[in-house]
Structure formats: structure tokens, C-alpha cells
């Protein structure tokens, strides 16, 4: 077996080992993250005068959202009103998906 084929086999076995129901299921995290794109653009690129969220690191997004939510002195206009809806776990789930956009 060549290295290439061996690699693919391992990949395929890896997929089989994953719990089937979860593998492709659309998560609530994805749903919440997609909602960001209604303002920030379909790749989070921030078209026109909308700030980009594309180049944030995952931790940077978590920090920003948490600060919008918890810090009354943050410079938010509307993000404080959005961030107030989310738990720490939800903010992490959103950030994880946004950091994967490109």
C-alpha cells in the first residue's frame, strides 16, 4: 500500500469511528454563528462600512463578545444588545464557527 492510500484509509476509518448522528448534524453553534453574517457579510468580511469579523482569532472573538456583554463601558452601539443574549458556552460556540470562516 502506498503512503497516499494508507493515509486515505486511515482518514476513512477515522470517519467511521465518529458517532454517526453527530457527524454532519447542523449544530446550534452554526445557526448562531450564521446570524452574525446578516450584518457582517456572508464570509464575515465586513463589506462597506461594516466592521470585519473575519480576521479575529477565536479567543479575540470570545474576548470581544464577552466584553460587549459584561462591560458597560465597551464602545458598542448594538453589539452589547446582541451579546446580552448569550451564555459563555454559546459565545464560545459562535466564536469557534466564526474563526473557521474564510
Amino acid at each position: 500500500m502506498t503512503g497516499k492510500w494508507a493515509g486515505l484509509s486511515i482518514l476513512a476509518v477515522g470517519l467511521l469511528a465518529l458517532p454517526q448522528a453527530q457527524a454532519e448534524q447542523i449544530s446550534k453553534g452554526q445557526i448562531m454563528a450564521n446570524n452574525c453574517l446578516s450584518c457582517h457579510g456572508s464570509k464575515g468580511q465586513g463589506p462597506g462600512e461594516m466592521p470585519s469579523i473575519q480576521d479575529y482569532t477565536e479567543q479575540g472573538l470570545i474576548n470581544s463578545m464577552t466584553s460587549y456583554r459584561d462591560d458597560p463601558d465597551s464602545d458598542a452601539t448594538v453589539m452589547n444588545r446582541h451579546a446580552a443574549a448569550y451564555s459563555d458556552a454559546e459565545i464560545r460556540a459562535i466564536a469557534s464557527h466564526i474563526a473557521d470562516l474564510n
Binding site: 486515505l8 457527524a23 448534524q25 447542523i26 449544530s27 446578516s38 446582541h82 469557534s96 464557527h97
Partner: protein, 438 residues
């Protein structure tokens, strides 16, 4: 955290398989389990009716969630003109062309099949939709995003044939040009009357943004003129913020008459641009008349029996599947969507949720828990923006606002804050049009 990270790694790995065309190989190696997992939605057909914010978003996100689903978008026009951003054109500081949206990216980048035609009827048991010109389309799921229709029977004295003289400008495109031309032709010292309808209607803050931006145009060009808002209601969206902005920017140029104080239209005389109120005892002889009629769900929804006694379409607010016809989803302005307003933003969000629900169900998977948002920006002036926001969840069978989140911009916030929100209003237009049609 660990779980989330793990999720995204799996997600990426699947994308790699798809991108390299190795899915077939994996099926070969993995056998039936892999096949059933990937095969859940393969070749399933979804027909989406209406290329506005709701329909176009659904079509795009169905393909984003699962490129193996065949998606056909049926839209009667070659382009779509937005209502959002079109009041800016009435205000004289935005090109009309910016409201025009095409379907090229949906087709070329997302693989949505675009059919320019009209769906005349369907049979949801057979999974077949009839087109006016191009025969029929088969579907496993049907999504209807028909927008609104006007209750002309509730406007005494005028009908759709009078909208060249008395435009509603509540559907994108030509109607806005008519209203703009009338504003341009009006002499200084004239009166523009705007007549907002009863609830519920498309874009709750829209008539008041319009009053603001017409006042902006008049202040710059015809400063002795006046805007008269004859309202069917006693209150409106973001009222405190609008009134604060009106006083700051336009003095007493805008007069708002609530329904209980003579705002309710009794009769319209379109030829003379006269509108009678107070059961006909008061007449307003104006120079530009904009009557926004009361509304209900788009015609096809009504013709096909999707509406209830309110004129709107009841749906399962988790999946937007019609409560009347299984397999048919209704989204956007036409649907009854709990606490969500009838806005392009809401339709866009509902489109994504509906796409996720349909893909999940076609694959035999659990529908993800709904999470929805809305932000309605309005311009009171070109550099003066305000907003209302909400985050929604699904609880006890309905879409409800998350407590403690959302709300309107602060009052007395100062010029810099208003200017930033004006910039974000324009940014939102760019963002949402990209998310819908880009």
C-alpha cells in the same frame, strides 16, 4: 471548549474530503454506513418560490449546508429591488441602482438553479409545482417566500390602478421612482402626506424613516415645505428616538397625527390628492400623497390556502413548515413568526433557519435548536442612525425574544453615537445584501 474545537476539526475534515472529490472513495472504503450518512439528502429537490430576502437566503444556505441538495429558485423578475435602502434614495443621497440585486452569484457560486417564471399552483402530496410558462418542477420540499399583498378593499376611494398618482412605494423598484419624481416636481411650500397602515405590516419603522428622509430632502431643497404623517395607529417602532431626531434635525417640519387624533384615513381622492380623515369631516389637500395600504400575505399564499383568518400564514415556528400543508415552508413577511417583525433581516434569518431545518430533515437528522436575531437600522438623517435589535429563541411553541437582550439605541446618545449607527446602517445594507444574494 474542547467539544467545540473537535466539532470544527471534523467539519474541516469533511470539507477536505468533498473538496478533493474523495467522498466516493470513502464510500467505497467505508461501505454502507458512510453511504447512508452522506446519502441522506443527495439528489433531494427543493423548490424555492420568490427571490427576495427570504427566498434567496434559503436557496443559498440550502446549498451551503448541503451541496448535494438540488435547489431551484423561481422568481418572476430578472432582478430584485430592495425596499430597504430605498428611503435613502427618496432622501436624495443614494443612487436608485443600489437597490437592484441580481441572481448571478446564487447561480454561479452556489449552484442554485434560477428559473424566471411564476409558480401558479402546486400539489404537495405529489411534490409537483406548476409554472406559468415552463411546465412543472418536482420537489421534496417547497419553500414559499411571497412577501406581502395589499388589502385594497380597506382603502376607500383608490386601488392599484391609482398608484401612479398616489404611490405606495412599499414594494421595491418603480414605485420608488414615481414617489421620488413627485417629490422633485413639488414646489417649495408644499405638503407631503405619508399614511402608514395598521399593524402588522412590512418594515415597522419604514414609514417613519421615510418621513425623516423626505424631510431631509425638503429641508435641503424646499425648506418651506412640510411632512404630514396621517397614521392609522397611536404609536410606532422606535417612536421616542424618531421624535427626538425629528426635533433635533427638522424642528417642526414633520407633523405626526396618531390614529385616535384624526390620523385614520376615511377616503382617498387620488385625482386631486385629497385625503379625508375623521369620518370624512376633515380633508387634507396635499401636494404629494403616499398611501401605504394595510397588508396581508402575498397572493400565491392566499390562493393556495396557506393563510388563516388573519391573512398571514401560520407555521411551525421551529422549522417554518406550514401548519396547513406538510412539506411546504412559508417564510418572511408572509409568515406568522412569533415575536419577529416583518423585516428583510428577519426574512434572511428565517431563510437560514429554514434551510438548516430542511437539510436536517431530509437527512433524517434532528433539527437544530432555533436561534434568530433581528436588527432594524433606520436613518433619521444621512448621518443620524438609530436601531432596534432582538435575539430570539424557541420556547413553548413560539419564537420569543430572549429576556435582557435587544432593545433600542439609547436616547440622548449624542452626535457621535448617531453618526456611528448611520455608518452601520449603510454597512448593514452591504452586509445583508451580500449574505442574501452574494
Amino acid at each position: 471548549m474542547a467539544t467545540q474545537r473537535f466539532n470544527s476539526i471534523r467539519w474541516s475534515r469533511r470539507n477536505v474530503l468533498k473538496a478533493t472529490g474523495a467522498t466516493g472513495l470513502a464510500v467505497g472504503l467505508g461501505g454502507g454506513i458512510r453511504a447512508s450518512r452522506a446519502g441522506g439528502a443527495t439528489g433531494k429537490r427543493v423548490v424555492v418560490v420568490g427571490g427576495g430576502p427570504g427566498g434567496a437566503t434559503t436557496a443559498k444556505y440550502l446549498r451551503k449546508f448541503d451541496p448535494s441538495v438540488e435547489v431551484t429558485l423561481v422568481e418572476k423578475d430578472p432582478v430584485y429591488h430592495t425596499c430597504f435602502g430605498a428611503n435613502w434614495y427618496l432622501g436624495g443621497f443614494r443612487e436608485f441602482e443600489r437597490t437592484r440585486q441580481g441572481f448571478d452569484a446564487l447561480q454561479k457560486e452556489h449552484g442554485v438553479k434560477i428559473v424566471q417564471d411564476t409558480v401558479t399552483r402546486w400539489d404537495s402530496d405529489k411534490g409537483e409545482a406548476r409554472l406559468a410558462e415552463n411546465g412543472k418542477l418536482s420537489f421534496d420540499r417547497l419553500v414559499i417566500s411571497p412577501g406581502i399583498d395589499f388589502r385594497w378593499e380597506d382603502v376607500s376611494g383608490m386601488g392599484p390602478e391609482d398608484t401612479e398618482q398616489v404611490p405606495h412605494a412599499w414594494a421595491g423598484g418603480k414605485q420608488y421612482r414615481i414617489l421620488r419624481r413627485q417629490l422633485e416636481a413639488m414646489d417649495d411650500g408644499g405638503t407631503v402626506a405619508i399614511c402608514p397602515p395598521t399593524n402588522p405590516f412590512r418594515c415597522p419603522p419604514g414609514p417613519y424613516e421615510r418621513a425623516s428622509l423626505v424631510a431631509h430632502y425638503l429641508k435641503e431643497n424646499k425648506p418651506r415645505s412640510k411632512v404630514l404623517v396621517l397614521d392609522a395607529k397611536d404609536g410606532f417602532s422606535k417612536q421616542g428616538l424618531f421624535e427626538e431626531g425629528w426635533a433635533e434635525l427638522y424642528g417642526d417640519m414633520i407633523e405626526w397625527v396618531p390614529g385616535s387624533e384624526g390620523g385614520v384615513i376615511h377616503r382617498v381622492d387620488p385625482g386631486n390628492r385629497v385625503v379625508a380623515t375623521r369620518e370624512g369631516f376633515e380633508e387634507h389637500d396635499v401636494d404629494v400623497l403616499n398611501v401605504i395600504p394595510p397588508q396581508r400575505a402575498g397572493k400565491i399564499a392566499r390562493d393556495m390556502g396557506l393563510t388563516d383568518e388573519t391573512g398571514w400564514c401560520p407555521v411551525d415556528q421551529r422549522t417554518f413548515e406550514s401548519s396547513v400543508q406538510p412539506g411546504v415552508h412559508v417564510i418572511g413577511d408572509a409568515s406568522i413568526a412569533g415575536a419577529m417583525p416583518k423585516s428583510a433581516f428577519a426574512a434572511n434569518n428565517q431563510g437560514k433557519m429554514t434551510a438548516a431545518a430542511i437539510v436536517s430533515e431530509l437527512r433524517g437528522q434532528k433539527v437544530p435548536e432555533p436561534s434568530l436575531v433581528n436588527t432594524c437600522y433606520s436613518l433619521v438623517g444621512p448621518d443620524y442612525g438609530i436601531s432596534v435589535a432582538a435575539v430570539y429563541h424557541f420556547e413553548d411553541g413560539k419564537i420569543r425574544g430572549v429576556e435582557g437582550a435587544g432593545g433600542v439605541s439609547p436616547s440622548g446618545a449624542g452626535d457621535f453615537f448617531r453618526m456611528r449607527e448611520a455608518r452601520y446602517s449603510r454597512g448593514w445594507f452591504a452586509g445583508v445584501t451580500d449574505d442574501i444574494w452574494g
